[in-house]
Amino acid sequence: MVDRRPFRWLFGLTCVALASACGSTLPDDVRGYESDCIRMNAAPIPPYQGDPHRGRKNVYACEVAQEQLEANARPFPDGALIVKESTRDGESHVWLIATARKQGDSWQWDEYTRNFADEEFRHILSGESVCTGCHDDARAADWIFTTYDAAPDGATCSPSQREQCGQRGDQEVLELGPR
């Protein structure tokens, strides 16, 4: 009589091994956000102690009218996509992308990370409460901390004027503090 217990373990381990290949990559509508969307912050947002996104960050708004961003009018429209990228100090490649997707009156939160510049981002398995637990502090601003930050000369941060915007200081949310 063959002991079947080892085969049960084999099945379990095979499942775990297969799972290690899982984790969806960046959605198509997120790829190319640097050129397709509007950067909200004028200069990179610096890291701070306890920073959940660990690094220098830029925040982009997609599917939101430029006029609405400039007016910092909230709430965001249905279908809005906010993309936050983070680059660790001393490195040149983005290691984390966090997205907030407006669906009706609520947001869907996701995060994607990678180790190396030539590697695909992969979705991380964490509950949305990890995001909302912090973003709840920005509930009054439709859950998004970052406000649109126009360049000092009044120019906007549209993709075509990105260089002008990049000369600005390092502030994010005027009333709520950096996140």
Binding site: D3, E111, N115, F116, H123
Partner: protein, 181 residues
């Protein structure tokens, strides 16, 4: 410089293990009737140096193939090739190690053993906290505990949990085949 010192330490340890094994080889080989164990192990590994929190980056499949000679009923000594199964160069953990297994507890169809391996291999980026390799070759080592069952006269199956290269935690299924040399 630190890497060179580390390599020298591993090299010294490797030499000590080898030197300790040599006196046992001749008399024990005859006593053990030249029995060999060819075994393999596959399973998931947790890469402790991964910064990415994605499962696909923090966990990778690993495999090891080993051939050991039974010196005594409890001690097997030989070599192994071990590595991460991934196409990316950043995760190319692949090395050759001198390995030994000592049976801590033995029953007719079951054995609980401790496994030690020391060697060298490709210095993959994922082995480092800053995700950048220092050199082409790095010292390799692993420490593991396995539980294996005998199936019939020659086959072995079991589980192994190990710590490899100070940065990889692995859990795997192992199988083996015992044969006479």
């Amino acid at each position: 410089m630190r890497q060179r010192h580390l390599f020298a330490t591993w090299f010294a340890l490797f030499g000590l293990v080898g030197a300790a094994a040599v006196p046992m080889l001749a008399p024990s080989a005859a006593r053990a009737e030249n029995a060999f164990v060819l075994d393999g192990q596959v399973g998931p590994a947790f890469l402790t140096k991964s910064r990415s929190r994605a499962i696909g980056h923090g966990f990778k499949p690993v495999a090891r193939l080993g051939l050991r000679m039974s010196l005594t009923p409890r001690l097997e000594v030989g070599g192994a090739v071990s590595g991460i199964v991934d196409s990316s160069e950043h995760y190319r953990v692949l090395g050759g190690l001198a390995a030994g297994r000592f049976a801590l507890w033995q029953r007719p169809v079951f054995s609980l053993g401790a496994v030690l391996g020391l060697g060298a291999g490709y210095d993959a980026d994922i082995l480092h906290a800053d995700l950048e390799a220092d050199a082409a070759i790095a010292p390799y080592g692993f420490l593991a505990v396995d539980a294996r069952w005998s199936i019939g006269e020659r086959w072995l199956v079991g589980l192994e949990a190990g710590w490899e290269n100070v940065s990889i935690l692995r859990l795997g299924l192992l199988w083996g085949y015992r044969f006479d040399g």
